[in-house]
């Protein structure tokens, strides 16, 4: 790089050139400095802002609360980052504000420096992810009749409290409707079984038993089986089969049927 370009760049007031708001306040939250991007966001000239309290100017949701990052950074003498909301070109947007204490030469804290980053994009992504998770959770739990008296309920995805309740209701209603003797609960599609999920499974099996139906659990993955044993979950009173195939054959046994090869 030629020295002239370097000199020219170093000659620019870089604080002003940073394309995101940067602000410095003293210990009483009087604004000492705010850069051009900050003024732009707020739609105000520096002359209007100078000397005002920061909370009167930027008006975020954390302003004047214990969670104010500048206050925390100064009180705790450390860098603090927090999510917040503030006005940008007249619109309220989600932001992440990071603040660190400013110190004099003796090391006494005399103010705080903050920089503000627009995080609308990541917040939008997170919300989308949440909605998608919600959609997956709300996928119905179909009960399939695979033979007279034999029901199959394949579980796919994450079993949470709400969905577990739905599973119990669906299965019990179908057992009564179909006068089922056996129900197969297939867990091939469940990535993780913790004690809360195990409790729901045990409850389902016990309730089915009261209606006169046996429940066969199938499709535990090796990882899940190992984890359940380590957790100490007792499934001793429950019939389990490694695969859905053996589960179906056991279920047919229960009703006195079996699958045989056809020889013509």
């Amino acid at each position: 790089m030629s020295t002239t370009v370097k000199d020219e760049i170093m000659g620019i007031d870089l604080k002003q050139a940073i394309p995101t708001p940067v602000m410095a306040v003293d210990k009483d939250f009087n604004i000492v400095f705010i850069n051009a991007a900050g003024c732009d966001w707020l739609g105000k000239e520096w002359e209007e802002i100078e000397g005002k309290k920061c909370y009167d100017v930027i008006e975020t949701t954390l302003c004047n609360t214990k969670k104010c990052v500048a206050r925390k950074a100064m009180d705790e003498n450390t860098k603090i980052t927090a999510r917040n909301e503030m006005k940008c070109y007249g619109k309220t947007i989600p932001v992440e504000i990071t603040s660190s204490p400013l110190k004099d030469k003796k090391g006494n804290i005399i103010g705080g420096l903050e920089y503000i980053v627009d995080i609308s994009h990541s917040v939008k992504m997170e919300n989308e992810l949440r909605t998608q998770t919600q959609t997956i959770l709300e996928l119905s739990t179909p009960v399939i009749k695979i033979w007279d008296g034999v029901l199959l309920l394949p579980l796919v995805g994450i079993v949470d409290t709400m969905r577990a309740q739905q599973i119990i209701e669906n299965l019990l209603n179908s057992i009564v409707e179909n006068e089922a003797e056996v129900a197969i609960l297939d867990l091939s599609g469940v990535p993780l079984v913790d004690t809360a999920v195990a409790k729901h499974i045990i409850k389902t099996v016990n309730a089915a038993k009261m209606l006169g139906a046996e429940t066969i659990l199938t499709g535990f993955s090796p990882d899940v089986a190992q984890t359940l044993v380590t957790l100490g979950v007792d499934l001793n009173n429950i019939i389990t089969c490694g695969s859905l195939k053996t589960g179906i054959s056991k279920a047919l046994n229960f009703i006195g049927k079996k699958v045989v090869s056809y020889e013509g």
């Binding site: 992810l129 949440r130 998770t133 919600q134 994450i158 949470d160 409290t161 990535p191 993780l192 079984v193 913790d194 004690t195 809360a196 195990a198 409790k199 993955s221 090796p222 990882d223 899940v224 190992q226 984890t227 380590t230 957790l231 100490g232 979950v233």
Partner: protein, 133 residues
């Protein structure tokens, strides 16, 4: 590298589990270890949501040349655990669960440590493996 996940809803719990799995996969842990840690996080995060309402889960990659280590810190500002020894007993529950959550989570991981006082509970867990390099 570390990642901090707020725990406020059940979907945060799923997010934390998934994030731990991904981080462990990138570090080189096998699927059994991933499931162990994800399950342990699930147990602790459920406790946080149930008893404290909210908290945080921090995933920290502590690997060095010799070992792959994932440390997970679950913190909350809830009422705290009155009797830790009792809470670590199999079958003990104050909340109508199976009572296998805490002792089970402890068995799932290599290191497990609880510090609890009214207003602050911190549980630290680690899964470690010799590096394959």
């Amino acid at each position: 590298m570390s990642k901090r996940i707020p725990l406020q809803t059940e979907s945060d719990l799923l997010f934390a589990r998934q994030a731990a799995r991904e981080m462990m996969r990138e570090m080189g842990f096998g699927s059994a270890d991933q499931t162990r840690m994800a399950t342990a996080i699930s147990e602790l995060a459920r406790n946080v949501l149930k008893y404290a309402g909210e908290g945080t889960c921090t995933l920290i990659d502590e690997q060095d040349e010799r070992e792959m280590v994932l440390r997970v810190v679950v913190e909350d500002n809830g009422p705290g655990i009155t009797n830790i020894d009792q809470a670590m007993e199999d079958g003990f529950t104050t909340g109508n669960g199976l009572g296998a959550g805490l002792p089970g989570a402890k068995r799932l991981v290599n290191n497990f440590d609880i510090a609890s006082e009214p207003g602050y509970t911190k549980i630290t867990m680690e899964i470690r493996r010799h590096a394959n390099k």
